[in-house]
């Protein structure tokens, strides 16, 4: 194993062909005789040749990198999205450039433009709430970069995305609780920075309204998509003079927090309290296969199939602690 990197011209010399021919083999182009190809491949193996990504990018305009623009307070969510994207990238011979960013960063647009101009990724994957930033989308369109949106707020015709009707799904979940006999149902919202937060709240209101149940503002707690919103939200709800008998958590992390707080207070779940949690990473799971076609038109997706929920590598185990106690209304209904 040589400690110095072999170049394409060395491979060419070794195989007794022109540089361009090696390049053809490398890029799996047509019009290379089988004999030549084999000789070149042998030479590449002999010299353990690895093409320079920088040179290929400079000359060819492709970077062999897919950027994942990702902001989410939940480690599980990030982990699953990354794991899935990474796996698909490996299959395609592309590298994943994970770009977590701080939500609310003032220069997000500039950062993304820098990324594009500096790295020239072959494709970009967006997660909320960037999926809903008109300026970012416009910049991507202007540069003609391929991209897909995970869970955008709106379904836009012709734009590659993994979409779900959040309001309808949330309404389904609340309806499930109503069917169980609940009338006082608490709601812990997600971060207001995410468009889906309002949509889920709308679904909550819709279901109650359809069931002729009056919405009690005291039962609606403003939270964020994290564990602590669940703990504090649950505490606040249970401290009410008339506490709820069920709680809708706007994310699975919130649901886990609610569970923790409920346990802390000695409340049996389920029993005295029912909880449903909205599973965001289920949506993320769906984007993996479409990534294949990131350089081609990607079809929009509707609801996630139930069997895709929690389909991440070890998702079931990792989340068992939370889900063992969560009514799986979402999984049952979202489909």
């Amino acid at each position: 194993m040589p400690s110095r990197k072999a170049t394409i011209s060395e491979v060419a010399a070794q195989a007794g062909v022109a540089i361009k021919t090696v390049s053809r083999v490398l890029n799996k182009e047509k019009y290379v005789s089988a004999a030549t190809r084999e000789r070149v491949e042998a030479a590449m193996a002999l010299l353990s040749f690895n093409p320079s990504a920088a040179a290929r990018t400079l000359a060819g305009g492709r970077s062999f990198q897919i950027a994942l623009i990702c902001d989410n307070p939940s480690p599980y969510y990030v982990y699953e999205v990354q794991a899935g994207v990474r796996a698909r990238c490996a299959e395609e011979g592309v590298r994943m450039l994970a770009q977590p960013y701080d939500r609310g960063a003032p220069n997000l647009l500039a950062d993304i433009i820098s990324l594009i101009d500096q790295v020239r990724p072959d494709g970009i994957i967006l997660t909320p709430p960037v999926t809903d930033r008109a300026d970012v989308i416009a910049a991507l369109d202007a540069r003609g970069i391929d991209y897909v949106c995970i869970s955008p707020a709106q379904k836009v015709k012709g734009r590659a995305a993994c979409y779900i009707d959040n309001q309808a799904a949330a309404a389904d979940m609340v309806q499930y609780l109503i069917d169980l006999g609940h009338k006082r149902i608490g709601f812990i919202s997600g971060d207001t920075g995410y468009a889906v937060s309002a949509q889920r709240l709308a679904g909550y209101r819709q279901a109650l309204s359809e069931a002729q149940i009056k919405v009690d503002p005291a039962l609606i707690i403003a939270g964020g998509y994290d564990f602590t919103s669940g703990t504090s939200g649950c505490a606040a709800l249970m401290a009410l003079a008339a506490p709820p008998t069920a709680i809708f958590a706007s994310s699975d992390d919130i649901a886990a927090g609610v569970l923790a707080a409920a346990h802390h207070k000695g409340i049996a779940v389920p029993g005295a309290l029912s909880i449903v949690g909205f599973d965001d990473s289920a949506l993320a799971a769906v984007v993996w296969p479409p990534l294949t076609t990131i350089r081609q038109p990607v079809r929009d997706l509707g609801y996630t199939a139930a069997d895709m929920l929690f389909s991440g590598p070890d998702a079931p185990q990792h989340r068992e602690l939370a889900y063992s106690l969560i009514e799986r209304a979402s999984a049952a209904k979202i489909n």
Copy 2:
């Protein structure tokens, strides 16, 4: 905002200087008059210039990318390490190339070599168990690439690393349980693929031995660093004719699993059962500051400071569910 990328020569023309001068400003080199610098910077801003990473890499030999070679079954661990590395990279104007890999991948060495030769990262960060792969380390040394090891099995003089004496730390933790009066202490091990797993078991044995407590093989469960090892391990231990009164979990994920199983069985924790968990991501937290000096000699680190434990962005909240019930022996003792 032009939709086409500006080049360095365009900036040079705009500023009325030579390309090389722009390059000097770009790389913050000395010997550029303040006036010239300002003019160049103005031109760069005007054209919203972003240098091509590919071109800089090809010509300069630097890629402005740091690779993070990471394998771990715990999302929290990965999340925290990535978050920390990313933050430091941003400060340094470098990008993070996260490279999760499948443990036990047969071609890991080849993959890493490909990474080096193709991307030429400016530095590499390794996490267990790659930190202990002699072939990988040798390859890195051969190529003269800077790298740091998080939690290697052995402390190697002169090799940049974030190290902790796992055996001593584990012994401390078990001693803590013994001090609480426990005599039958269960042990759920980590994956045998990690060198630290054996070291932690050795620490367990050592503490028992020093306390004149006979080691009962039935109390030692083979597991992995994940949640389910905790649930199944706990179930197995509690099913014994003489169950333990305390359990040592080889990782925090295992500890969380033990907790879940204990709850499931209606066992009060703490009370009937004490649990300690080994916190791996605490070690990871320590590597962040040294990253600054990744291109310079990096000093070895000893035990992690207690106040660095759980220092990740939202670590305390996210892990509250698990830790609210875990005796924090490790945090107290590791320092």
